[in-house]
Amino acid sequence: MPIRKLSAQRLWLLAAYVAAAAVLFCAPLVLSDFRLNLLAKFLAYAIVALGLDLIWGYTGILSLGHGVFFGLGGYAMAMYLKMQASGGKLPDFMDWSGLTKLPWFWKPFEFLPFAIAAGILLPAILALILGYFTFRNRIRGVYFTILTQALVIITTTLFIGQQAYTGGTNGLTGYSKLFGYSLGSPETKRWLYWVTVAALIGAYLLCRVLVKSRFGKVLRAIRDGENRVRFIGYNPAIYQMVAFAFSAALAGLAGMLFVLHVGIISPSMMGIVPSIEMVLWVAIGGRGTLVGAVLGAVLLNYAKSTFSESYPNIWIVFMGALFVVVVVFLPKGAAGLFGQLKRLRRRRASNEGADGVRYPAV
């Protein structure tokens, strides 16, 4: 790759990124423990948004099933923590459900490396399988979206139904220790926050490399004209599968971090509503821009935690209205708004009627 000259604009952009990263790393100095924990949760959500943006904004495939991938990651981590908390004994909820022996698939979760690997790989494998059976047959667009939504329904009913193995509606909670450190202590929380920031930055950079690469170009080409890509000689299904699996892995990673911050995972956190809320973050921030997805996730969740406790009813109406407004008026989200304004100004200046790239009808 040729070395690109750093223009002034690019330098400013780079400086802004570095500053943002620095602010995130220094946040524990100024924020209270409670606020820090909230921010950490939002940053975990931002990782999901990144993955979702990759598959929706760049590849044009809308998944309403990311709650499942998020939840799988969360459960993997929660199983490890639960094993730690029970200290070799049977986890409490299994006892209540009348199990006497630890189920075989719980056993390896005693080891943290296994739990982490499972939390990332399980969602990716599930996504690969679903992707294989759908993209290969050119099931796409809304059909795929509906299938992902069905996946959410069956997963939540399965998790609720298998109470003895998954904790049922209550989910998994009541853990205390990670590596022998207390999860509740401010010290640990701060470290977990830093881990989350690092994970977010890592995920962001990875996505950016992916998007800028040849692979990313093919993804965008699939979004804009899948058949043309096919005729050129690519196999879109492979690209879609890989992008979907990667996106699911990011959601799983986010789910693991989420559990560490929040201390509970339950089927209601992976259901239909959370899954579609994740899409809203990306839609508002701006699909097709990575920064937009991150900002959308953080800002919308901040707004939610501020308003929804005091006015839960108004919040739901507001969220509904937001969906409508963003989709109808701001198809590229807040990040697209800047682009729209810039283009408008440029068009005024040069007084020509050219309009920019229209968002394709996905």
Partner: protein, 301 residues
């Protein structure tokens, strides 16, 4: 043997409800490629309309007339949901043609708002609708009892299906509708107002959702979120059946309804759902665009 017959009956009963819900969806989706996630809320509107009609009857009509409220509630539900659908189409949907995924998100937002509206008008707890006395009891055949309510819903679906068939395949507006569905540009060239056809079609789909809501009041209590419970299953019916022909939707509904009941009977409720999903994905390997697919020479449709 009796058990099998009973399960089969239950399956058909579930199918009939799914069919009633999916009928409207398959029309709007088939014609306009719009995914209406607010369809569930239109069901909810129909259900609450039945509730209101029932209360009006209880308050203003002699008690002897009460049983007939349901006969009034069905057309009223249709009309109310029809009007909601018309407003929705004219106010929002028409900006979203050609963007099915966006229509999905926007209508989901509308659904949230409608749910909240219902919550503030009728309260969050479920309300019960007292089913008319003439639907109590059941038909006894041998050792099996088939509840009249279920039979009534099956009958209602058959009537709806027949009327839809007459409308789509045997009437002038229906012919225009099919023309728009098959080739929008050509239909417009021949003088069909595609705008109006879209609006009316969407409203009819919504109206059927209203009837579905009305029928649901017979089965159990109704709440603001009643629609979300059925909506995904109904969409699966559309995916499985394919769009464009009524027979596809009927097949999809029967397939999902019966297999769901049987699997849940053989395994557990949660495992049954998983198995049904796997079966649907497996079926789509064989017929990716559903049971019946509209033939078209266009590559991207």
């Amino acid at each position: 043997m009796d058990v099998i017959i009973l399960q089969l009956f239950n399956g058909i009963s579930v199918s009939s409800i799914l069919l009633l819900i999916a009928l409207g969806l398959s029309i709007t989706f088939g014609l306009m490629k719009v995914i209406n996630m607010a369809h569930g809320e239109l069901i909810m509107i129909g259900a609450y309309t039945a509730y209101v009609v029932q209360n009006l009857f209880a308050d203003y009509m002699p008690a002897s007339m009460f049983g007939w409220y349901f006969a009034i509630a069905i057309p009223v539900s249709f009309i109310v949901a029809f009007i909601f659908g018309l407003v929705l189409e004219m106010g929002l949907i028409r900006f979203l043609y050609g963007r099915p995924l966006d229509s999905l998100l926007a209508t989901w937002g509308v659904g949230l708002m409608l749910q909240q509206l219902a919550r503030s008008v009728f309260g969050a707890p479920n309300v019960g609708v007292k089913s008319p006395a003439w639907l109590d009891g059941g038909l006894t055949v041998g050792d099996n009892v088939f509840p009249y309510k279920r039979l009534f819903i099956i009958g209602l679906v058959l009537v709806c299906l027949f009327v839809m068939y007459l409308y789509i395949y045997r009437s002038h507006p229906g012919r225009r509708m099919r023309a728009v569905m098959q080739n929008r540009e050509m239909a417009a060239c021949l003088g069909i107002s595609t705008r109006r056809v879209d609006a009316v079609t969407f409203a009819i789909g919504s109206g059927i959702a209203g009837i579905a809501g009305c029928a649901l009041t017979l089965i159990g209590p109704i709440g603001p979120a009643i629609g979300t419970y059925y909506i995904v299953d109904a969409f699966m019916v559309v995916v499985l059946g394919g769009v464009g022909k009524l027979v596809g939707t009927v097949f999809g509904a029967l397939g999902i309804g019966i297999s769901n009941t049987l699997f849940e009977y053989w395994t557990t409720a949660s495992l049954g759902k998983v198995l049904v999903f796997l079966c649907i994905v497996a079926f789509l390997q064989w017929k990716p665009s559903g049971f019946v697919a509209m033939r078209s020479r266009s590559l991207d449709n």
